[in-house]
């Protein structure tokens, strides 16, 4: 597991290691509107919430942080447990290289300083799902420290109202994942699953309120929050709760709480884990973790055995904020569109694939991707990978439109056809449904008919009300079932009216 801690205006991430998790730790101020408003209502100084997060993230690795047993989602209980995972006497931890690489990569992505030497510690407490009686973590000298994550989010309804914020990352640490306890109240027993690969993301939030400029208030820790939505609700609730207590002259207790999503409230946890002395001690079975860069890499060393930070840096994928900037610059799309492309898994790749396959302006393509394609996928509850419309089909459609083979309303019809599936290409659909644009000869007749049937409009145009021309073009379009090139229709009509 990785544990990341963030603070100040910061995000703290940290990793855990047995089932390979990353954990980040950080602290941030959440200027909670509820709290501030409340403070104004009571006429006192405004309260400001201070929030620190401990984010526990599972590392996407084939085996656990300290053992060779597999990490498998939804594996049967205790089916992927090594002798080490079960803490059999005499077993020793061995570090999984993949997990270290993931931690370093996370550190780089979060602009952390990577510690070339980091250490492992034991954190002791007795709990049924912690079979060794201690957890191996990185308390003293973690793998990465002092990071920064900048992000933008909309403050109003309009996309243009974006605010840039940054979260400071205190540290990223590799940490062993504990097991899972399942309490069976009816049978009065607790079942333990030592697979320890259950949660991909878990957050502990430390929350306090104070008056800006004054020392921090007493904090509470809300543990085991498993979604971003609940995290926001838990923090809002806790700030409001603490503010109410303080406004009523009470004292906030330093305690561990849990978020009950049904109640939408935080409640005190029974166990006194938070107040324990964990009796930290260096883990004697793991030597210091030494990382290298290309400069410090010793000669005559098996490159497969060591970790080169520079190589990981090269492997680092384009980070989201860079991607967004690049998309705006390269394709001339709007910033808000770049957010949609990056946030939807696979959508950016889809968009770029379409762009590559057509000469059409990306600015025109973005509408098809975000409005039409995404709309269709949402309606059908599909992921981008499951889309029945391939990037090449969409590219072909856009090209037909670009080359004036079809009108934009015909293009919409073709798109609807594509949504229905089947292996027909847009070109074939156009041909079968006769959706192609009419040539001047075919349009002549339709235009003549419209002119003949609309004396009033013709008269108005001849008097100089040229706006009415659009109505006639619309009628031609309608009569041709959307197969009209409006410019061509206009030319023909003008000729017929001798303008």
């Amino acid at each position: 597991m990785l544990q990341v801690s963030c603070g100040g205006c910061a995000l703290l991430l940290g990793p855990s290691v047995r089932s390979s998790q990353l954990c980040y730790v950080g602290r941030g101020w959440r200027t909670a509107s509820t709290a501030c408003k409340h403070a104004r209502d009571t006429g006192s100084l405004p309260w400001e919430g201070v929030v620190g997060l401990e984010v526990h993230a599972q590392i996407n690795s084939a085996s656990k942080l300290f053992s060779s047993s597999q990490v498998k989602f939804a594996a049967p209980p205790n089916s992927t447990v090594s002798f080490f995972d079960a803490s059999l006497p005499g077993t020793l931890p061995t570090l999984n290289k993949r997990c270290i690489e993931a931690a370093v990569m996370t550190g780089l992505a979060l602009n952390c300083a990577i510690n070339k030497k980091s250490l492992f510690d034991r954190k002791h407490y007795f709990y049924a799902d912690l079979p060794a009686g201690y957890q191996i973590t990185q308390q003293r000298l973690p793998i990465a420290v002092n990071g920064l994550l900048t992000y933008r989010y909309p403050t109003g309804k309009k996309w243009s109202d974006m605010v840039t914020k940054c979260v400071r990352i205190k540290q990223i640490q590799l940490e062993q994942d504990s097991g899972k306890s399942l309490h069976d109240d009816f049978m009065r027993q607790t079942l333990i699953d030592l697979n320890r690969a259950e949660g991909q993301l878990r957050v502990d939030a430390n929350i306090s309120v104070h008056h800006p400029g004054e020392p921090y208030g007493v904090r509470t820790e809300v543990k085991n929050i498993n979604s971003a939505r609940f995290l926001a609700r838990a923090i809002d609730y806790e700030i409001k709760r603490q503010t109410d207590i303080l406004n009523n002259g009470g004292i906030v207790q330093n305690e561990t709480r849990a978020f009950d999503y049904k109640l939408g409230a935080t409640i005190p946890m029974r166990d006194k884990e938070g107040k324990q002395d964990y009796r930290f001690m260096p883990e004697p079975n793991l030597p210091p973790l030494i990382l290298y860069d290309s400069k410090t890499l010793p000669r005559n060393i098996d490159a497969g055995q060591v970790i080169n930070i520079d190589l990981i840096k090269e492997m680092l994928p384009e980070l989201p904020n860079i991607t967004r900037e690049r998309l705006v610059e390269e394709y001339g799309i709007l910033p808000e569109h770049s957010f949609v492309l990056v946030n939807e898994d696979g959508l950016k790749e889809y968009f770029e694939a379409v762009v590559k396959m057509t000469t059409a302006d990306p600015k025109k393509i973005i509408g098809w991707v975000i409005k039409n394609l995404l709309g269709y996928l949402r309606q059908e509850n599909l992921t981008i990978k499951q889309s029945l419309i391939t990037p090449s089909a969409l590219a072909e459609l856009v090209t037909l439109l670009e080359n004036k083979v079809i009108s934009s309303s015909a293009a919409q019809q073709v798109f609807q056809e594509l949504c229905k599936g089947g292996n027909k290409t847009p070109t074939l659909i156009v041909k079968e449904k006769k959706l192609g644009l009419l040539d001047s000869e075919q349009l002549e007749g339709i235009c003549q008919k419209i002119v003949d049937e609309h004396d009033e409009e013709v008269a108005a145009i001849r008097k100089g009300n040229l706006k009415v021309m659009n109505k006639l073009i619309g009628l031609v379009q309608k009569a041709s079932k959307g197969r009209t090139d409006p410019a061509l229709a206009k030319t023909i009509l003008e000729k017929k009216l001798q303008l």
Binding site: S87, G90, P93, T94, H124, Y134, R279, M281, P284
Partner: protein, 524 residues
């Protein structure tokens, strides 16, 4: 044949003078005859027979696996052995049958060794007498030797009440006795503060503590992870070298083993010590050092000098802080390592169901003896947030100073250090238990435990008999990963001393004692 060295036995097996089943049977019957020594906790009779039978098949086909093929060995009962109960001599692990072999055990078996059984120890290795075991104390076979009986017949009543048998030393007392009494050729011990060398010295056998990181600890149920090393007990230095060649080397399952490949070696018969520089640490003139040991020590220094070696007095100034520093580090790691014994997954579980916590606490109270519980308590105290810096961190710093003492001495040109192994010969059990475990450990480990702090290799070699007719050993401490040099010096010394091992199986005059003891044992 039971008095042979491993080498001689291996040669006899190869030329057909001996066959593995025969050898196994001889050892087994001697184990049974000497049951009263309490060296073995568990005799793996059936498994060993199967292994011996397979070894015999290989010899018949002319394809023995290695030098250990068909050789009876014993393993201290704190090494994990697949399908063989592993107890650490504790109520806590009574009945625990591990599903895997410790790396060192596996390496022995891969060479065709015949595992006769698991040997007795102080509970979880915490002790220096092999007296604190739930299976009862280990008795030193020299207590029943002709020499001891003759020399003490005047002052004590020996034959009749058997009250003055002497301790085997510890904590690997069972392994030392197994080798010394002839029930196996080689035994594994573990060495955290002297647990291999101390009983080896008291039982008149050779005991090696290799460099930390040279031999895998995977499967060794830990006492102090940062100091534990599997130890080798054998009848002569050559045998130790052979077994070290089998055991040493990187283990992917132990991250603290070094990556460099280990070069196996055999020791020449003619060893030249003329270019050798031997250091005599002045701090090792400890209070309580027996005059016999002191004189043996200085005679050996003279012997080396006469043979052309350079003998110099050196200083390891931080030695005197070692024992107290060891106490802090040891108990802290013990507190941590013992945390897993909670009764949930394996071993003893108390019959208490009020709550998980109540079950934990009853299990640990019932499962551990006073010594273990006392160390857990101290260790947790040293690790408390408010004490960590004052005790644990300080002890770590002192440990570094102790290790640096060795580095400096070796850098100055000294090749090996010569010291006593113990203060004197083995104490009679009745005397030994007059003091508590902690006091005894501090006394017994005084010369051995610095090498664990520094991680350097050390070997004890039998050097002679005390006036009471009990073995005395001397210790050589070497430079990290320079086992070949250390063992060479040890072998040279061994040849000079020409120590006469205990041919226990030959002591016909002891038969009646053995018989009587066996009867008593069967009554118990």
């Amino acid at each position: 044949m039971l008095g042979m060295s491993l080498r001689e036995a291996a040669a006899a097996l190869r030329c057909g003078q001996l066959n593995p089943i025969e050898l196994y049977q001889k050892c087994l019957s001697l184990i049974k005859e000497t049951r009263f020594l309490n060296a073995y906790i568990n005799v793996a009779e059936d498994v060993a027979l199967r292994q011996a039978t397979e070894a015999e098949k290989r010899f018949r086909q002319g394809k023995p696996l290695g030098e250990l093929d068909g050789i009876p060995v014993a393993v201290k009962d704190n090494f994990s052995t697949a399908n063989i109960e592993t107890t650490c001599a504790s109520q806590m692990l009574k009945g625990y049958i591990p599903p895997y072999n410790a790396t060192v055990v596996q390496k022995l078996l891969d060479q065709g060794a015949v595992l006769m059984g698991k040997t007795n120890l102080d509970e979880f290795g915490m002790g220096s007498g092999s007296t604190d075991s739930i299976f009862g104390p280990v008795k030193n076979p020299w207590s029943y030797s002709k020499q001891y009986r003759e020399k003490n017949s005047g002052s004590r009543t020996i034959a009749d009440d058997d009250s003055d048998w002497v301790i085997a030393g510890g904590s690997s007392g069972g392994s030392a006795v197994a080798v010394s009494s002839g029930t196996c050729f080689v035994a594994l011990g573990s060495d955290t503060g002297g647990s291999t060398r101390n009983p080896a010295s008291h039982c008149g056998v050779v005991g090696l503590k290799p460099t930390y990181g040279l031999v895998s600890r995977h499967g060794l149920i830990p006492l102090v992870n940062s100091m534990d090393v599997p130890g080798i007990l054998a009848r002569c230095v050559d045998d130790v070298a052979t077994v070290l060649g089998v055991l040493a080397g990187h283990d992917p399952l132990d991250s603290t083993t070094i990556q460099d490949p280990f070069q196996t070696f055999t020791l020449p018969d003619d060893i030249d010590v003329t270019n050798l520089c031997v250091g005599i640490p002045k701090e090792y003139h400890a209070p309580g050092l027996s005059t016999e040991t002191l004189s043996l020590w200085s005679r050996t220094a003279d012997l080396l000098e006469d043979a052309g070696a350079k003998v110099v007095e050196v200083s390891l100034p931080h030695t005197r802080y070692s024992i107290v520093c060891y106490h802090v580090l040891c108990t802290a790691e013990v507190a941590s390592n013992m945390a897993r014994f909670d009764g949930l997954e394996y071993g003893h579980r108390a019959n208490v169901e009020d709550s998980t916590e109540a079950m934990y606490s009853a299990t640990r109270r019932e499962g551990f003896n006073d010594v273990v519980r006392g160390r857990i308590l101290s260790g947790n105290f040293f690790l408390l947030k408010q004490n960590y810096e004052k005790y644990f961190l300080k002890a770590q710093k002192v440990r570094r100073l102790i290790a640096d003492d060795f580095v400096k001495v070796f850098k100055s040109g000294v090749d090996v250090l010569l010291t006593p192994t113990t203060l004197g010969d083995a104490a009679p059990y009745e005397d030994f238990i007059q003091e508590d475990n902690r006091t005894r450990s501090a006394q017994e480990d005084v010369f051995t435990q610095c090498a664990n702090m520094a991680g350097v290799p050390a070997i004890t070699v039998p050097a002679g008999l005390s006036s009471r007719g009990l073995p005395l050993g001397l210790q050589f401490i070497g430079q990290a990963f320079r086992e070949q040099q250390l063992l060479s010096v040890a072998k040279w010394f061994e040849k000079q001393m020409n120590f006469c091992p205990l041919d226990f199986y030959k002591h016909l005059e002891n038969r009646d004692i053995c018989q009587r003891k066996s009867n008593i044992a069967s009554l118990l």
